[in-house]
Structure formats: C-alpha cells, structure tokens
C-alpha cells in the first residue's frame, strides 16, 4: 500500500466515508481509493479490525443488509457519538497537518 497510515488516520477516514450514508466494508475501501485517486489503498487486513474496533467504541454501527446485486453484507453507519468523534478528530488532524506544514514550509518546493 502506498503511504504509511497510522491507525488513527484510518479510523478518521472510515468515519468520514460513512458521513452521508451507510456503506459496507468493501464499499468503504473503494470509496477511499476512489477519493484519493488510488493514492490510499486500504489494506483489508487493517480495514476489518478497524471497523470492528470502531464498532466496539460505539462510533459506528453495523447492520446486515442487501447490496444492489442482492448480496448479503454488513452496512456500517455513523452513530451520534461517531459524528461527534469525526468532528473532533478532523479538527485535530487539521491542527496536526498545519503543524507539519509549518515545519516543511521551510523547505523549498
């Protein structure tokens, strides 16, 4: 996988993915890949543990449902707690990114 993602960042991406509507596991990986135009490909090895960890924290919820093609899949959605966490974590990540840029900004492009 290109890029080294910290676990926390993956959680954040998953939460963001689920902001608008419930998505199943495979769909989440696809969405992230598409949005980053292939830069970030989530390792399935990291995805499912992350999903269940977020589920355990109570930030997302998993319900069984049907895909368009009629397959049974588990759809994840944001809980209220998850929504708040998304806001909070996004702000933090922003802050973190700004700080890194502040340092890197000194390097010539």
């Amino acid at each position: 996988m290109a890029g080294n993602l910290f676990t926390g960042t993956l959680d954040l991406l998953i939460l963001r993915t689920l902001r608008r509507e419930p998505v199943h596991g495979y769909g989440i990986a696809r969405w992230i890949r598409d949005r980053t135009q292939g830069v970030l490909e989530v390792e399935q090895g990291a995805l499912y543990p992350a999903l269940h960890r977020l589920n355990r924290k109570g930030w997302i919820r998993g319900d069984w449902g049907e895909t368009e093609t009629g397959r049974r899949a588990r759809f994840y959605s944001l809980t209220e707690k998850g929504r708040q966490a998304l806001q909070h974590e996004t702000a933090r990540w922003d802050e973190h990114a700004q700080a890194v840029y502040a340092v890197l900004g000194g390097v010539e492009k």
Binding site: H24, Q44, G45, Y48, P49, H52, R56, D63, T67, E68
Partner: protein
C-alpha cells in the same frame, strides 16, 4: 443500498458474521477484477492475495466484535430485568388481596427470624469489648466426687498462678458491696475486691489515673478505682477527683483511677449486676486459709493455647496440690471455663430455641407462599402458552416468573425489616433480666443482610418449581382444555398436597413443644414456693466500717432496728435474714449426733445456713411445722438452739422426731446445736430447684455484716419503703439501704426468663397453626373447584350435605394425618432438645403429644370447613355447565 430491519445482533456468533463479511468483500473484489477483464480464476487468486492473512484478520476483528457483544448483552440483560420487574409489579397488583397476604406472611416469617437473630447476635454472639476475649477464662474449683463447683481459695489461686504453664496472666477477685457515705445520699454499690493482676488479665487501660500495683495486693492501701458510670453520675465527671479521697465503708479511700466508659468486669453469672468500683483485695482472717473458697479466678490463656491443653495442665497441677494439701484439696480440681461459654449459658440456649421456633414458622410460611405461587402459575397457563407461541423462549418465561416471585419476596423482605425493627423495640421493653447486655440490642447489619438473602432465596426456590412447570405448558392442550386443566394441573395439585403435609408435620413439632412449655410454666406457677409472695418487702443493708467492727455493735444495731420496724403502721411482722429464698445459698457440712456417735467417716451433709433475727419466719410467711421459732434463750453458748427446715429434718433423722436432736457444723470437736423447731421448706437456689436442707441460726451466733430486712405488710408492701428507710436512718443516719425488692419481684425476676420464651414460642405455635389452616384451606378449595363437575353430579343424584362435607373432610383429615405421622419423629426429637427447659412434665409425654395431634386435626378440619360449605351450596346445573 437497501437495509433490512434489524433482527437483534445479540445472539449471532460474531465469528460467523465476520467470515461472511470477508467473503462478501472478496466476492465484490473478484467481480470488480473480472469486470476489468481478468479471467475468474486469476481474479480470485489476486483478490485473495491482496486481502492478506485471512485468519489473522478474522481473529482480530472477531476479538473486537466479541468484546462489544459482551458489553451489549450485559446492557440487554439489565434492560430485560427491569422490564420483567415492571411487568411483575403490574401483574401482582392485579390480585392485590392475595399478594398483600403473601407479602404479610413472608414479612412475619422473615421478620420474626431477623428480630430474634438480632437479639442472639447482640447479646451472645458479639464478642465482649475486651482485647482477645477468646483467651479469657474463669477457673473454678470443682469437686470431682460430687460435681459441685464454686470459687477457689486464695492460697490455691496463688499456686495456680505460679505453677501453671498455659496462662499469661491470672487474677483473683471477690464480689461485694460498698457503702459510699459522702454526699447527701449514702448509697450502696456493687464492687469487686481484686488483685492487681485482674487488670492484667482484662488488659484494659484506665481512662484516667492508674490501676492497682502488685505491691498493693493484701496491703492496707486505701485506694479505690471507680467505674465511668459512677464517676459521671455521682461525682459529675469531675477530672480532679483523681487523688482526692472519698468515704467508703466508713473510712477514707483515695481515688486512683477511672475505668473507661462501657467497661464491664466479667462475673461468672453473666453480666447482671455490674461492679461500679474496685478496691484491692485485703488481708483478712480467711485469705490465708486454703479451705476458704470465696475467690473467683479470672485468667488469660497464652496466645494460641487451647482450652483443652490448659485444662490438662491444670488437672496435673490440681493433683499435685491435692497430694500436698489433703485437708483442703481432696477431690478438688481447677476447672477452666471459657468466658464466652459462661455468658451463653442458659439464657443463650433459650433464645436459640426461640430462634428455632421462628425458623419453623418461616418454613411453614414458605409453604403458603409456594402454594400461592403455584396457583398463580397454574391460572396463567393460557397466558404463558400464548407467550410461548409468540416466540418468548422458555428461558424468558421462567425468568419472568422468577422475577415475579423475587419481587414478591423482596416485598416481604422489606416488610420483614419494618416488622423486625418494630418488634425489637417492643421486645426491649419486656425482655427479662436473665438476658444480659440488653442495651446493645439493635437491628444489626448482619441480621438485615440475613433477612434480605432469606427472602431472595425464598423467592427463587419457591418460584422455581412453579415457573418451570408453567413454562412447559402445551399451548394447544391448554387452550382446548381451558384454564387449569393443562398438563401442569395435576403436578401442581400433588405438589400442593406435599406442601400441606409438610406444614402439618412442622406444625406438630411446634405445637407439641409449645404445649410442653406451657405446661412447664403452669406447673411452676402452681408450685408452692414456701413463702408469702405477695406481702413481703425486703431491704438490704451492710454494716461496714469501724463503727460495726465488733459483733456486739452489729447485734445492737439490729436489736434497735427490728422493734422500730415492727412498730411501723402497716407492718405485721418484721425480721432480718442473711439470705433470701431463691437468691442462692451459703452452705456447709453438717454432722448429726447419730453420725458422730457412729463415727462414720462420711463427709457432712451439705446444708444451707441462714442467720435470722426478729420474727423472720412470720415476716417471710414460712410456716412453723413443729416446735417453736428461735428465742433469745437460744443464744446461750452452752446450749445454742437452731431451727431446721423440713428437708433437713427428713435428711438428718428420717424416721425420728427431730426436736431435741443435735448436730454440728464441724466434727473436730463438734459444736453442738440443738433443734428447737422445724419450719417449712423454701427453695434456696431457684424456683425450679428442690429445697435443700437448711439450718437457721440466731444472728448472734453468726453476726454477719450484710443482712436483709424482711417486712410483712398488711397492705401493699411498697408502701413500707419510705418508712423503713427512715427507721434505718433513725438508728444510723449514715446507713444506706439498697436492693429494695418485694418477694413478688424476686419471684418474677426468676420466672421472667421462662415467661419470655414460653410466650414467644406459644405465639409462634399459634401463628404456625394459622398458616397451616390457610394451607389446608387453599388445597381443599382447589379440590372443590377441580371436582365441581363431579360434585355437581353427586348432588344431582341425591347426595346430602353430610355426604359432601364428609368427602371434603375426609380429604383434609388424610392430609392432616399424613402430616402428623411425618412429624411425630421430629416432635419427639424436638422435645429431647428442649428437655432441659421442662419442669413438672416429662419430654415424652403421651397426653401432650396426643393433644398436639388433636389440635392439628382440628386445624385441618377447620381449614376445610369453608370449602366444604361451598361444596354443599353447589347448584348441580351450574356445576355441570362449568368447565
């Protein structure tokens, strides 16, 4: 993407879910790859490769999922429990009458047990407020030949103290009374004369000042230690009292210490009359005499040493002393008695018996509760069947029914706590003086917990059977067959019969016990105690100090006092005695003239001795049976006269006239006393103990310092208290009077203990009978309801009322008989257990047992009465229609 409704995440295996998720993911990936042009096989391989280590992923994801499941299911359980609880309350309130009755029954059963247990706990099971109370013992002197036990002598104590190997400290004391004569009001208090080592044994530090030093033993140090209570009540808690002198027994003593609040000095007779002051043991004419057995010995075992080990050590020591001092120590051995076993004693046993009775009542009550729960479960069979059909698991139904019975039981538990609280207050006010430490009785936390646990247990156990049977109902069968005719019906019926039979068995045990105790109490009441129990007043006084050092001075006092008392208005007779009936004794060996003439080597006959003055016999109401009472002539030292009681007359000279015969209290050389009269017996050692032989001497022959004035009144003896006190003060203004009692009070205090537990057990027996009647009523009612059709048919074909009643009664009778038969063995065992409490009636008393059986049969028939009447009023038409 669509979503289907959520069917509980709860009961699915997380591992399987995750496998499915992963499979779906892989499938979708393969689809994508195939759509991009890869052949299926390759696509599959690629997808699997990209996924990674499936097993690892599966494991990690499953781990998270399982943890979440656990937490959720916990919440879910709590939620359903709450739901069940609310539902239970609703359904219970739909049958308010029976619910309240059941709660009441439970409350009575559990509350009674909790209250009695609290008493037992506070009074007997709580350890004493002394350091390591399990190490404390008394060491008595025991005669291994005749089993008599009592205090030790001082030289023996010293040898025990110096030669033992198992005790870390030992002390000796003697209980007595002191007059405190400073201040306006002279009082007489209980006090102990102690060796300094007594405080080492008790290991208690004084609150102020110090305790005695070893060098102060047997010295003439005029020191005194006061109890906290005395210090605050009489001296206002004045801290400067230490070092000051107070007047004790006519002489000054320096206060050197105050004991801490709540400190109680153990005595061998429980904690009855506490000591309020301590003085050092003094040298007197008896203390060096190895034959003078007046000293109580308190000892503390070495840490970890068992009582048995100490007893063996002391036995050997006792044998050595016996060899060395045969005159005094023959057959005498030290006897080590742990303090807590002494305190428990008789009163503790009585309370335990009461607790057992309460436990039996509780068991019977549980039978009623179980029957109630069974009938509820049966009548709701339809409801249960429907719920089962709708998908409620069997477990859910059982759980819900259990919740109901637990809610019921908890309600009973709460009621029990209230009842226990209230009844403890009531108990405290009429608890007899035989039970010590009553001030400490409270509803203790242990008992409370005990009550709650008991009620929970009851709910679970007696709700389980009905719940399980109800959950097994067959829906089709019960809906077709109507209420109560499902498969569970028959089983429930038999179970109820079993419960009723059990109730009757237990009821017999309690009824028989109660009847025996009632008879004991009645026969004790009837027993002639030998004295006038209604008109006699007694007052104690102690002639101490230098003023009364000489015996002539003491005699002079009484010679002045008695005529004064006699002349008071309302006094019929006046006298004095050294000891009262029922209050214990003083005894010594007697050698009759016949025994000395025969030179028989026996020990003397153990005989009680009293010193009397004035018209004691008339004042106490003791009848004169032969000869005359004592007169001044009997003071003649050449020929002293003595009066004996009937028991002595029979014992000393069984077939001969005792008047004119002689006996002596020693035999080397004999000091003859001539019998001038015989009086009636009184019981010296208690209302239940046979009268002992007794000899009455004139005061001048035995001029003790402590005497009790006895007055026979024409009216209420209590009216004489003030005048009698004034008469004493007129003779000696510094002479306090104490222990003012009427003989009625003395008798009451002795009987009080028995009255207390007899009353309680009688009450419990009545309760048990009532509960058993209710049980029978329930079973027979159900029987009538079940057989309505059949009974209706009988009526239709001409069966009379008597016939129907006969049917009903026969069933009740059979139940009662079965219960009684079952309970016979238990009843017999129970009476053997309480045999020490019986008086005037033997444990295996067939008439009483028959009475108990009869009582239970009556109860059985009574319980069946109403349902029987109902059966006779059945209209055949209705009966045949009912189904």
């Amino acid at each position: 993407m669509k979503r289907v409704f959520r069917t509980g995440d709860y009961h699915r295996d997380p591992g399987r879910d995750i496998s499915e998720e992963i499979d779906t993911h892989l499938d979708l990936k393969i689809e994508e790859l195939v759509a991009a042009g890869l052949p299926e096989e390759e696509a599959r391989a690629e997808a699997v490769r990209r996924f990674g280590n499936r097993a690892e992923i599966h494991a990690e994801a499953t781990g998270h999922a399982r943890k979440r499941e656990r937490r959720q299911s916990l919440f879910a359980s709590a939620e359903t429990l709450l739901q069940d609880g609310r539902y239970a309350l609703r359904t219970l309130s739909r049958a308010p009458g029976m619910t309240i009755l059941t709660i009441l029954i439970l409350a009575l059963g559990i509350g009674a047990n909790t209250a009695i247990f609290s008493v037992l706990q506070a009074v007997f099971l709580e350890p004493l407020p002394l350091p390591h109370p399990e190490e404390l013992t008394f060491i008595w002197n025991r005669n291994i030949r005749n089993g008599g036990r009592g205090p030790s002598s001082f030289p023996n104590y010293l040898d025990w103290r110096d030669q033992n190997a198992t005790f870390q400290a030992m002390g000796a004391f003697e209980g007595g009374n002191l007059n405190l004569t400073d201040g306006d009001e002279p009082i007489r208090i209980r006090a102990a004369m102690v060796t300094a080592s007594v405080f080492d044994v008790l290991a208690v530090q004084p609150a102020r000042g110090r305790v005695f030093l070893p060098e102060e033993d047997l010295s003439m140090t005029r020191a005194v230690i006061l109890s906290h209570q005395l210090w605050t009540e009489r001296y206002g808690g004045d801290p400067s009292l230490i070092g000051q002198t107070i007047q004790v027994d006519g002489g000054p003593r320096t206060v050197i210490g105050i004991m801490p609040q709540g400190f109680e000095h153990p005595t061998p007779w429980g904690m009855g009359d506490p000591y309020l002051a301590w003085i050092p043991l003094e040298e007197d004419q008896w203390i060096r005499n190895r034959n003078s057995f007046s000293y109580q010995v308190l000892a503390r075992l070495r840490p970890g040493v068992q009582v048995e080990t100490a007893q063996e050590d002391m036995n050997q020591l006792g044998a050595r002393l016996e060899e060395e001092f045969p005159d005094s120590n023959t057959d005498n051995r030290p006897w080590v008695v742990p303090l807590h076993s002494l305190l428990f004693g008789e009163a503790g046993f009585q309370i335990t018996v009461v607790l057992l009775a309460a436990a039996v009542v509780l068991l019977i009550a549980c039978g009623n509760v179980a029957a109630f729960l069974l009938s509820r479960a049966a009548s709701r069979q339809t409801e249960m069947a429907v719920r089962a059909a709708l998908g409620a698991g069997r477990r859910r139904i059982v759980r819900q029914l259990l919740t109901e019975s637990t809610v019921l039981a908890l309600g009973g538990g709460l009621g029990a706590i209230l009842l226990a609280r209230w009844s403890l207050d009531a108990l405290r006010s009429f608890i007899p003086p035989t039970i010590p430490r009553t001030g400490e009785i409270h509803l203790d936390g242990g008992a409370l917990l005990f009550a709650l646990l008991l009620s929970l247990l009851t709910g679970l156990i007696f709700g389980l059977a009905p719940a399980v049977s109800a959950s097994r109902t067959d829906l089709a069968g019960s809906l077709k067959g109507g209420v109560g005719l499902g498969g569970g019906g028959r089983r429930r019926w038999d179970l109820q019969h079993v419960f009723v039979v059990g109730q009757f068995a237990l009821g017999l045990i309690l009824a028989n016990t109660g009847l025996l105790l009632l008879q004991s109490y009645a026969s004790l009441q009837e027993t002639d105690q030998g004295f006038d129990g209604e008109h006699v007043l007694t007052l104690g006084l102690s002639l101490g100090g230098d003023r009364y050092d000489e015996s002539t001075e003491r005699q002079a006092f009484f010679q002045q006092l008695v005529p004064r008392l006699r002349s008071l208005p309302g006094v019929r007779d006046a006298g004095a005695t050294s000891k009262l009936p029922l209050m214990g004794g003083t005894n010594g060996p007697v050698f009759t003239d016949a025994m000395i003439a025969d030179r028989s080597p026996e020990d003397g006959i153990l005989t009680e001795v009293s010193a009397v003055e004035g018209a004691y016999f008339a004042a106490m109401g003791i009848p004169l049976l032969a000869g005359r009472t004592l007169a001044p002539d009997d003071d003649d030292p050449q020929n002293p006269g003595v009066v004996i009681n009937e028991a002595a007359a029979y014992r000393f000279w069984p077939d001969e006239d005792p008047l004119g015969r002689r006996f002596s209290f020693g035999n080397d050389p004999p000091q003859w006393l001539t019998v001038v009269g015989v009086v009636g017996d009184v019981r010296q050692w208690g209302p239940e103990i046979r009268p002992q032989p007794e000899a009455y001497l004139r005061y001048s022959q035995n001029p003790r310092t402590r005497m009790l004035i006895t007055l026979a009144s024409t009216g209420d003896p209590r009216d004489l208290i003030r005048p009698a006190r004034d008469a004493v003060l007129a003779v000696d203004p510094n002479q306090p009077v104490s222990e003012i009692r009427t003989m009625a009070e003395v008798l009451d205090s002795q009987l009080g203990g028995r009255e207390f537990y007899t009353l309680l057990i009688g009450l419990f027996s009545l309760l048990a009978l009532g509960l058993a009647a209710a049980g029978v009523y329930g079973v027979i009612s159900y029987f009538v309801a079940q057989r309505t059709r059949e009974l209706g048919i009988r009526v239709a074909v001409g069966a009379g009322h008597a016939r129907l009643m006969g049917l009903v009664f026969r069933r009740a009778f059979l139940l009662a008989i079965a219960g009684v038969a079952l309970g016979l063995v238990g009843a017999v065992v129970a009476t053997l257990v309480i045999s020490s409490l019986l008086y005037g009636v033997s444990p295996l008393d067939p008439p009483t047992l028959a009475g108990g059986v009869g009582l239970l049969l009556v109860v059985g028939l009574t319980g069946a009465l109403l349902p029987g009447l109902r059966a006779t009023r059945l209209s055949p038409v209705e009966a045949l229609r009912s189904e």
